[in-house]
């Protein structure tokens, strides 16, 4: 019997396998950041252990980093201590770090692919659940806790029970105006937040093959939001074209050898998945969340659902709580929901392609009165690239704020936060209660919907913007 893509990668990384024990898996790349690593380095110090492979480890500062006043020290002393602790640990253990102010600083999941360190067929871990992003290259990539961070630092391996295999068959083509973000949000609502639990998920089908690397990263990034251990996409020419020439991509003969290996990784025709789910891309329209978990979503053209419409009692109660927290009434058209703040950025949608599409939609428009728009590049290099292309000027002319690189408003660990009751349309990945700041209300959206919402002041799609332009003309 043939093997799936994930099974091939898994089997190629088994260091040790024994009955009744999880496999010991070798880790090709360990990414670290300031939040989930301090206690792991402490553990190493206590036990007198070194970092086994500093040359397979990379650190960056992202979660705590302010996106304004970049030339000043971090004002929040506790944040500053956490960042300084990472610097001391990196120095002491010989780990490469890209700190604030460095040209390669940025969100850890933007930096890895950008440097060409994320490649097909690898095992990649990080103390961050959105490590699933790197699966877009055809690697097994997943988030781990701090105990596991210490384990990987000490042993460059991880004991892991082999997950089950799932295929997501994306049939049909995404219609014009619908995006990878809409597709993954619709899939999470279809499968619920626990639907992928226990599985490594392979996204397949023509619609996936046609996506750019950046769109594939958006899809894989949100695998964790429906509970999957990891999500991945078979490497192809799109992958290789993206990689070739990046600083850490193989060169010369090594490149040819690598590509030959990468091409062999695709799921065999006779491989069997433990589960297959199907989603029809041709039916996808702009999709947004109305509730407090990423599975509580609806088409932008729809209404806030009535909790009574949920059959499952847990879902019904969760919907009631969500509407109360979100300050929404069942039956309200989603388009009627006014938004205070728009956030464009994060490891989900903070790459150059996202900023290009956002700038192109802002062209000729102004941010609505009473609404603020934050545009936050995922890395310093994304920021510089955007500025080279003049995108920053478009954003600023439209009345949006152009910021420094970091996790920013995706999570309330740095100064970019919502205030209680403030409502956002956010291109990030989580709409949990308080995620973007205590009492904040989050609607997850694509960059396209984010821009239209920023211009119109209520949840809206690019098609609504076009109508505005026509009316104006």
């Amino acid at each position: 019997m043939g093997k799936t893509l994930a099974e091939k990668i898994w089997d190629d990384h088994v260091v040790r396998s024994a009955d009744g024990e999880p496999d010991l898996l070798y880790i090709d790349l360990h990414l670290i950041h300031e939040v989930t690593s301090p206690q792991a380095f402490d553990g190493l110090r206590l036990s007198g252990r070194p970092v086994r492979r500093p040359d397979l480890t990379l650190a960056t500062e992202d979660h705590n980093i302010p996106t304004t006043d970049l030339d000043k020290p971090i004002a929040d002393l506790v944040s500053r201590t956490q960042v300084e602790t990472l610097r001391r640990n990196a120095e002491e253990f010989g780990v490469r770090l890209h700190p604030m102010g460095d040209i390669d600083q940025g969100i850890v999941h933007v930096v890895g692919p950008q440097l060409g360190l994320t490649q097909p067929g690898m095992t990649i871990v990080c103390g961050d659940s959105h490590t699933s992003t790197h699966g877009a290259f055809g690697s097994i990539a997943f988030g781990i806790g701090t105990s596991e961070v210490e384990h990987v630092l000490a042993t460059q391996s991880l004991s892991q029970a082999k997950p089950k295999m799932m295929a997501v068959e994306v049939v049909g083509d995404l219609p014009e105006g619908s995006t990878a973000k809409d597709l993954i949000l619709a899939l999470i609502t279809q499968e619920t937040t626990g639907g992928g639990q226990g599985y490594i998920v392979e996204y397949r089908g023509d619609a996936i093959r046609k996506l750019s690397m950046e769109a594939r990263m958006t899809i894989c990034n949100m695998s964790i939001e429906w509970g999957a251990k990891a999500g991945l996409i078979a490497p192809d020419d799109t992958t290789f074209d993206y990689l070739q020439g990046r600083p850490h991509a193989p060169q010369g003969e090594a490149w040819d050898e690598a590509v030959a290996y990468w091409r062999s990784l695709g799921t065999d025709d006779d491989a069997v998945f433990d589960k297959v789910v199907t989603i029809d891309a041709s039916t996808i329209t702009p999709f947004v969340t109305w509730g407090t978990n990423p599975g509580q979503g609806v088409a932008l053209s729809g209404d806030v659902p009535d909790p009574a419409s949920f059959e499952d009692p847990n879902e019904r109660v969760a919907a009631e709580r969500a509407l109360e927290y979100m300050g929404l009434t069942a039956g309200t058209p989603m388009r009627d929901i006014a938004v205070d703040t728009v956030f464009i950025g994060s490891c989900t949608n903070g790459r150059i392609e996202d900023l290009r599409v956002a700038a192109s939609l802002f062209e000729g428009h102004k941010v609505a009165e009473g609404t603020r728009v934050l545009v936050v590049p995922g890395s310093v290099r994304v920021r510089l690239q955007a500025e080279q292309e003049g995108l920053d000027v478009v954003f600023k002319d439209a009345g949006a704020e152009w910021r420094g690189a970091g996790c920013s408003m995706c999570l309330g660990m740095n100064p970019d936060q919502l205030t209680p009751g403030e409502r956002s349309a956010s291109t990030s990945n989580r709409n949990f209660e308080g995620r973007q700041g205590k009492g904040g209300r989050t609607h997850l959206v694509s960059p396209e919907v984010a821009v239209a919402t920023g211009v119109l002041g209520h949840l809206a799609s690019p098609a609504d913007l076009q109508q505005l332009s026509k009316a104006g003309a």
Binding site: P54, I144, S157, Y261
Partner: protein
């Protein structure tokens, strides 16, 4: 890690599903660089609500949390497990745990006991009828007991063994150092390295 065989303590009924790790401990509490003291962030938003279960006198000393399905979803923060343990919890019972949360629990020494959904319903009813009542989580026999109720729970064999023995995961792996070195010797040369930086 401390050995865990069985624990009996006050059960707290948390009638919520999809308790994500941002609810267990919001990001603002993750800035500490030490391993202790995370109890102050546990369910911090919900604890502002007087009617929240952990604000009721009967559950002040709760050590077993009984929650709805999909407990621990979202962020990989092990701080969520630490916050529960620092507060005093020894075990969490739920019909379904998020993978990363369950993994983190096993590493840190918190028992994540997975039971059928109707068992959680029965435990909630039992605890609410008699606030402050105790639950036993018996890892040896993989059962939960409360009053007349006795039900099996699921935890994987390897995690159960490590918790029963109180074993350090890193030490176990380092005993296979030769296997790791042998694997490293056969890794393809085209695999990337972060050093030297390019």
């Amino acid at each position: 890690m401390e050995k865990f065989t069985a624990h009996t303590g006050v059960g707290a009924p948390l009638r919520r599903s999809n308790v994500d790790t941002d609810q267990i401990i919001p990001a603002v509490y993750l800035k500490r660089v030490t391993r202790t003291g995370f109890e102050d962030g546990l369910f911090s938003a919900w604890r502002n609500d007087e009617s929240f279960v952990l604000n009721q006198d009967a559950y002040t000393n709760a050590t077993v949390l009984v929650a709805g399905p999909d407990f621990g979803t979202g962020s990989s923060r092990e701080h969520a497990v630490w916050a529960l343990m620092d507060y005093g919890f020894k075990a969490v019972i739920s019909p379904r745990f998020a993978d990363i949360f369950r993994g983190n629990s096993g590493k840190a020494g918190l028992v994540a006991a997975q039971v059928d959904e109707d068992v959680v319903e029965q435990l909630w009813a039992y605890l609410e009828a008699d606030p402050g009542a105790s639950i036993t989580v018996d890892l040896e026999s993989r059962t939960v007991r409360a009053g007349d109720l006795e039900a099996p729970f699921h935890i994987d064999d390897y995690t159960r063994w490590r918790l029963l023995e109180g074993l350090d995961d890193v030490a176990i792996t380092l005993s296979h150092d030769d296997d790791i070195s042998a694997y490293e010797a056969r890794r393809p040369a085209f695999k990337p390295a972060t050093l030297p930086a390019r």
